[in-house]
């Protein structure tokens, strides 16, 4: 197994190297790791608003539109200005310009033709990326090309981050942080209800421009680290992951920033340890892993949580149905013999006929109830409630009947108050209301409240 891994061509780091990276001992590594962490924070913040504004694809179009700008800037700098092609600010300026042109084109296509948003973005995205590839192919032969490392913009190469880049990333992160805090409420309204925001006089277009400008900034400074193909994933994934944990925008934004930072930190650390792995891909994979984890285990909308609560609910309903069924049968049996209701044995067959249960389902319910110590199986054909089961059954039946009456007599206010899941009506309705309902139970000729019956059966005060 171990030798198999060695054959992949990856150099596995020694413990020493591991500590070196984790403790940020090497200043180059420290610079890279801190940069990507800060970048993750910024992209997590701005990604939230981008996601909720439903502009994710716009971010994608923007980043792909950066490619021709990089190539063209290289040409302009080397051919016309006699500069070195490696000049980073020049390259990023080019990227910004074509990126913005791409976004403007998307808006123009959308506003002047009947082509829909997604189609417009798709067109711009692929045309600009194609254009960029052509330009890069053209300049491949020119001197200084390989030194400039233009390809690293496509897939990202954290190792090439310089002090200048690191400073730039930190400045951008500061701007993004400041805007997210100051314009939090404005962005929130913009993303939720554009029409209302506009009617209130907020400059919707201006806010959109600010948001897209922030996305552009993060994209451009992120090109070095993550690369233009994957930067959109770095923007959107932390936000999407955060959404699984919360239903509150403030919490979501904070979480998204944290998830972004962790992805940036862990991704850069891993790729520092395993230099042959492309950094951008590793960072995005870490983010994707956090996303997957959140999707399953997220506390607000995670799949597992949904399954679990569904399962619990089913179990609870099953238990309530069974206990109520047994109790009602007992009630009927005792009434036949004009006795006070008591915990008499109930034949399995009667139970089976009481509801449209299959024999298998009844056995399953009985097994579950036996497990919960609510039921005593007397012999193969008869069941009886245990002492705690009888109390529980009486409570459930009473609750059920009170809710039933409530729904009938208070149909107008019912919907917002009925919570049949609540353990007892008393938790939801006022004592006066419960008393009123109990009186109604009597009037309608429904057997007296089982609550008291149960107490009587146990010899308590009636």
């Amino acid at each position: 197994m171990v030798s198999g891994l060695h054959n992949t061509g990856l150099d596995w780091p020694s413990i020493e190297a591991l500590l070196n990276v984790l403790l940020l001992e090497n200043s180059t590594t420290a610079k890279v790791v801190i940069s990507t962490t800060v970048l993750g924070l910024a992209s997590g913040l701005v990604g939230c608003f981008l996601l909720l504004r439903k502009r994710s694809l716009m971010g994608d179009a923007l980043s792909h539109a950066c490619l021709p700008g990089i190539g063209l800037a290289f040409i302009v700098m080397t051919q016309f200005m006699g500069l070195e092609g490696k000049n980073l600010s020049g390259l990023l300026l080019g990227a910004t310009i074509t990126g913005i042109i791409g976004v403007v084109l998307v808006m123009m296509i959308r506003n002047t033709s009947r082509i829909k948003d997604d189609a417009a973005m798709g067109i711009v995205l692929s045309v600009f990326f194609g254009l960029g590839t052509v330009v890069l192919t053209l300049v491949q032969q020119s001197p200084g090309y390989s030194a400039a490392g233009l390809e690293s913009f496509i897939y990202g190469k954290t190792a090439s981050i310089t002090q200048q880049d690191a400073d730039m990333i930190q400045a951008v992160a500061a701007v993004v942080f400041l805007c997210s805090v100051l314009l939090f409420k404005e962005f929130k309204l913009l993303c939720f209800d554009e029409g209302f925001s506009r009617s209130q006089g907020w400059p919707v277009n201006g806010l959109d421009v600010i948001l897209l400008a922030l996305v552009t900034l993060v994209t451009v400074v992120g090109l070095q680290a993550v690369g233009l193909i994957l930067i959109i994933a770095f923007l959107i994934t932390p936000a999407a992951a955060a959404r699984f944990w919360t239903n509150d925008l403030t919490v979501m934004v904070i979480l998204s920033a944290i998830i972004g930072s962790i992805s940036g930190w862990l991704g850069a650390t891993l790729s520092a340890l395993l230099p042959r792995l492309p950094a951008g891909a590793v960072i995005v994979l870490v983010a994707a892993m956090i996303f997957m984890f959140s999707m399953f285990f997220g506390s607000a909308r995670g799949v597992v949580r949904r399954w679990l609560s569904m399962y619990k609910l089913k179990r609870k309903i099953g238990r309530q149905h069974l206990l109520r069924a047994v109790f009602e049968i007992q009630e009927a049996l005792c009434l036949e013999q004009s006795k006070d209701p008591a915990n008499v044995a109930v034949p399995f067959k009667t139970l089976l006929n009481h509801r449209s249960w299959t024999p298998k389902r009844v056995r399953q319910l009985l097994r579950q109830a036996d497990h919960e110590d609510h039921i005593d199986l007397i012999d193969g054909d008869n069941v009886r409630l245990s002492e705690s089961g009888f109390g529980e059954a009486a409570r459930i039946t009473r609750n059920h009947r009170l809710w039933e009456i409530f729904l009938i007599t208070h149909a107008d206010i019912a919907a917002s108050h009925v919570d049949r899941d609540a353990d007892s009506v008393e938790h939801v309705l006022s004592p006066d209301m419960v008393r009123e309902l109990e009186e109604k139970l009597d009037m309608l000729g429904i057997p007296e409240s089982p609550h008291y019956i149960a107490q009587a059966a146990r010899g308590g005060p009636a």
Binding site: L52, K54, L182, L183, F184, K185, E186, K188, L189, C191, F192, D193, G195, F196, R198, S199, Q200, G201, W202, P203, G206, R243, T246, N247, D248, L249, M252, A411, D412, I413, A415, S416
Partner: protein, 275 residues
Amino acid sequence: MPDLAYHNKPSATPPLREDDHSPRAPLSIHDLTVAYHRKPVLWDIDLDIPEGKLVGIIGPNGAGKSTLIKACLDLVPKASGLVQVYGQPYKRQRSVVGYVPQRESVDWDFPVSALDVVTMGLYRDIGWFKVVRRKHKDIARAALDRVGISHLAERQISQLSGGQQQRVFLARALAQDASLYFMDEPFAAVDAATERAIVTLLKDLQSQGKTTLVVHHDLATVTQYFDYVILLNMRVVAAGPTEEVFTAENLHRTYGGKLTLLAEAGHALSQIKRG
């Protein structure tokens, strides 16, 4: 955008200038034409809405009812015409106008609570860059209480029923404490109890002297709810006090040959005679 933060909220009924001879109508529209993609959907609309009325905007699907409201609120460009709110352009009167959009116009899956949404009605008062304070939340909570769902304040909005979501939108408009309200189909897909609650609220607003325009589809309840109606189908077919304007002939002219709707109109008219 300076008008947002520095705008002083005028009192509910702005004082008349001396040279004003007639009271300024809450809403007056002159020669309004609105077009999407060159196709006009509203033609030469002329309206003066008197103060303190509960106004029904009635018309078939696609008649331009939503568009009329959006044009008043500068949400769609006007091809021509003039809209005045208390004698001034809308953009100088934003703080006295409340708006309840159609419920489907937003994504209810958004990560905010009912209280958050209602608070959005106050963002204008709060102003740029400032945060929401406790006093704003208290106002929002009171508004939720007025629509009867203060117990759902903390609930995420996707976990509300359609009727409850509608109430949240109403509460947001109430929190604005406006004197002219536009409501786009507040009765859409709500049950009888919610409808009654909303009507009570509307009459309540009216008794406070506020003017409310409501897009409404159920012809059978028009006479019961509204004391003023606008019959709209690309142009204003008729507008005026309900008893004068809500006639078989006008409904016929509004709904044209749409037979099922005419049957409904007939039913509505039989209600008028009885009422």
